[in-house]
Amino acid sequence: MPLKGWVSEMTKSLILVGVGGQGTILTSKILAEGLLKLGFDVKMSEIHGMAQRGGSVNTQIRFGKKVHSPMISMGEANLLVAFEKVEAIRYLDYLKPGGTLIVNDHEIYSLPVLAGKEKYPEKAIEKLEKLVENIVIIKAADIAKDLGNIRAQNMVLLGAAVKLLEILDLDWVDLIKDNLPQKFHEININAFNAGVKQA
């Protein structure tokens, strides 16, 4: 278990990165609420605005006994959850040596790539695998699609994150229900459970 022994007095940092519209903010919100229930002091920082329109987004969570700054430094994140491959690379320098990277094996082309002005990198996952010791690759988008809606991919990743953080003994299903309209409960809970199994 790569993250074993992580719970200590020291403040820990998580960063969730992806593309506007992928549900990173909701995922961070649920994660932060869970950490709070576990008795941690939690701070979370999200930047929204222009980024909604298909731009690159990140939310940062810091938790511990007493947290001051909500912002993560380079090489500080104990866990980086990337909702998209290129975003994993973009934010990789936030990951602490020995930290864990969860990456969604999913690609979203940005407009410069769509327009043929820039290239989407090849073999990104293979290269990440070579570099990062603690990497967990999950086809969250495919899993969610199979369950009925790609938009539940964030819950697959949440499940994986929660499992790796060893904080499964909390009623996450309840938190998911609190944060989503009823008609989406079933698929999101299934997605969450699928994520737990994957990690």
Partner: protein
């Protein structure tokens, strides 16, 4: 009760607990959610105003009438609201008046990085700066009391990291203070020269008293730690400094940023060996400290531009710490924000792009994204309203230079109500030959879908009269034959209108009317509408890529349209020369 809240939610809660009765704002990142949250408290009357000046006047009027009132805006909004602010400092308040200014160091979503702490000095209003969500609640509450005690408007200054960061908040209950009695008092509330002249010394007197109190006010505090290093700081910078230095430094945490506490600063400075001033943006506190003849280190080592963060502070304060990380030497594509699939703004800019001899003076809204390739048509973007007014000047200058280029000024519906109407009157009055395009997507989209006077709904969701843009355009004197209302999803109709505008020698207005593709009801209605590529007919000419739609891709040597994001706007279909795009659904 404890809850994790953003700074914005906490400010709303603080206003509620303080017994605030009236709140007004114009949206603007990062301040928008303050009013959206206040609207959930039925005890507070809240409204979207058409702009920040109006919002502050509404709040100011309510305050004079005796209600505790709040007004919120992004930093540049205070430029718009500066006029009432400066004079409200003279009239003072009756019910407490709190003005939230949300600054944006790092320019996450703004056109400049101005530091609004200077407004406090300039306008002679008190200023308070919280450093986390709990303080947002506590300080917002305190601000109302301070405002009433000192008969002064209080600026509550926050920044993006405060507004949009979440932390734990202890909530209290509402203290209903009612609406104070109002008595006619022209010498205080009517600022004619004779009265204003008498108010000014009163203002100076109040500030003197507050300056004295600033040395004892609970918002400012010294936290003694190691005395080798002393740090004067405020807002989010306090949190970063604490994170980096812990108890290895002493802190003077400033919560009342104006007026600054002279005695407290002297006491602190004399108690530490080396003094730093750590603040984002301008050397506001540093200049004050230096003016007292106290040596300190500030902007010579910390940047003026951008946000601060623990890492920047660490490099200066603890240069011995080293950070390792992973680097993957790999070129990755940029991911700029783009107009959404199905965005109604696209059709208009695609049409304008065909004209090589036009100048487009742009404005701020989602359509700002037309600056980026492949649309890439906009020449200027300054501030809200300038889409029309800068166009007037541009056109006059081009005429003087005998340059025949046509000027098109663009702005959205919310921006038109905010400050475009006066500009349009100016264009008509001064016989401008420019053309104006109002991109009426029936919502304030950029800031996350707020209602505006054209949508027929108020902040609280109540039905209200729809202010008809076309009628306004007519009423200010644009001739009927020079007005076109078009559907920007229809390229033929749009092209015809642009051509007419291009040829016109009088003010010409095109209203491009089509609701934002992300409005929930619109999404529902169009859920089954899609465009797809008929691979038998597609020649991969890539014409459809020119509209810059994020749903269209050239992947594995074929053109594809992402069915999840396409809303069947048919723009791609209309530009395809081979009839290779088909529309599905009804």
């Amino acid at each position: 009760m404890k809850k994790i809240m953003t700074g914005n939610e906490a400010i709303a809660r603080g206003a509620y607990e303080a017994g605030c009765k009236v709140a007004a704002a114009y949206p603007g990142t990062p301040s928008t959610e303050i009013l959206e949250n206040i609207a959930n408290y039925k005890e507070i009357y809240s409204q979207w105003s058409v702009n920040e000046k109006v919002a502050l006047e509404v709040a100011g009027g309510a305050s004079i009438a005796g209600a505790r009132a709040l007004c919120a805006m992004k930093h540049v909004g205070l430029n718009v609201a500066a006029d009432p602010l400066f004079t409200l400092a003279y009239t003072g308040v009756n019910g407490g008046l709190v003005v939230v200014t949300a600054d944006d160091p790092g320019l996450h979503s703004s056109q400049n990085e101005q530091d609004n702490r200077y407004y406090a000095i300039h306008a002679k209003a008190a200023m308070i700066e919280p450093s986390d969500s709990q303080e947002c609640l506590d300080f917002a509450k305190y601000a109302f009391t301070l405002s009433e005690e000192y008969d002064i408007p209080v600026l509550l200054r926050v920044t993006t990291r405060i507004c949009h960061s979440k932390s734990l908040v202890n909530m209290g209950s509402r203290q209903d203070v009612g609406v104070k009695e109002y008595k006619k008092y022209a010498a205080k509330y009517c600022m004619i020269p004779a009265f204003a002249k008498r108010r000014h010394p009163v203002v100076e007197q109040k500030l003197k008293k507050l300056r004295e109190y600033s040395n004892k006010i609970p918002l400012n505090r010294i936290e003694w730690g190691d005395k080798k290093v002393g740090i004067i700081t405020s807002g989010i910078s306090y949190q970063h400094a604490r994170e980096v230095m812990g108890d290895n430094a002493s802190y003077l945490k400033i919560g009342l940023s104006f007026p600054l506490p002279e005695k407290l600063i002297r006491e602190f400075a004399s108690g530490v060996e080396k003094l730093y001033v750590i603040e984002e943006s301008e050397p506001y506190m540093e200049t004050f400290v230096k003016s007292l003849g106290i040596k300190c280190i500030g902007k010579d080592v910390f940047p003026i531009c951008g946000e601060l963060n623990p890492e920047i502070l660490e490099k200066v304060l603890r240069p011995e710490t080293s950070r390792n990380t992973y680097t993957l030497d790999m070129e990755i594509p940029s991911r700029p924000p783009v107009l959404c699939a199905g965005c109604p703004h696209r059709g208009m800019f695609y049409t304008l792009k065909k004209y090589k001899d036009v100048i487009v003076t742009g404005d701020i809204g989602c359509y700002s994204l037309s600056i980026m390739p492949p649309l890439d048509v906009t020449h200027t973007l300054i501030c809200m309203g300038a889409g029309i007014s800068a166009g007037i000047g541009f056109e006059k200058a081009l005429t003087l230079a005998h340059n025949g280029k046509k000027v098109f000024g663009c702005m959205g519906d919310s921006t038109f109500f905010h400050s475009g109407i006066t500009s349009l009157i100016d264009a008509v009055y001064n016989k401008s030959e420019m053309a104006v395009i109002i991109l009426d997507n029936r919502i304030t989209a950029m800031t996350g879908h707020q209602q505006n006077p054209g949508t027929g709904k108020t902040l609280s969701g109540d039905i209200s009269p729809v202010i008809d843009i076309e009628q306004i355009v007519r009423a200010v004197g644009v001739k009927g034959e020079n007005i076109r209302v078009v559907d920007p999803y229809d390229l033929t109709e749009t092209q015809e209108a642009v051509e007419k505008a291009y040829e016109a020698v009088e003010p010409f207005v095109i209203i491009a009317k089509r609701p934002c593709a992300l409005i929930k009801e619109v999404q529902k209605m169009r859920a089954t509408l899609k465009c797809t590529i008929n691979q038998n007919k597609c020649t991969s000419c890539k014409m459809c890529l020119k509209i810059g739609c994020p749903a269209i891709a050239f992947k594995d040597d074929v053109m594809v349209i992402d069915q999840a994001s396409c809303n069947g706007c048919t723009l791609c279909m209309q530009v395809c020369r081979f009839d290779a795009i088909e529309r599905l659904g009804e």
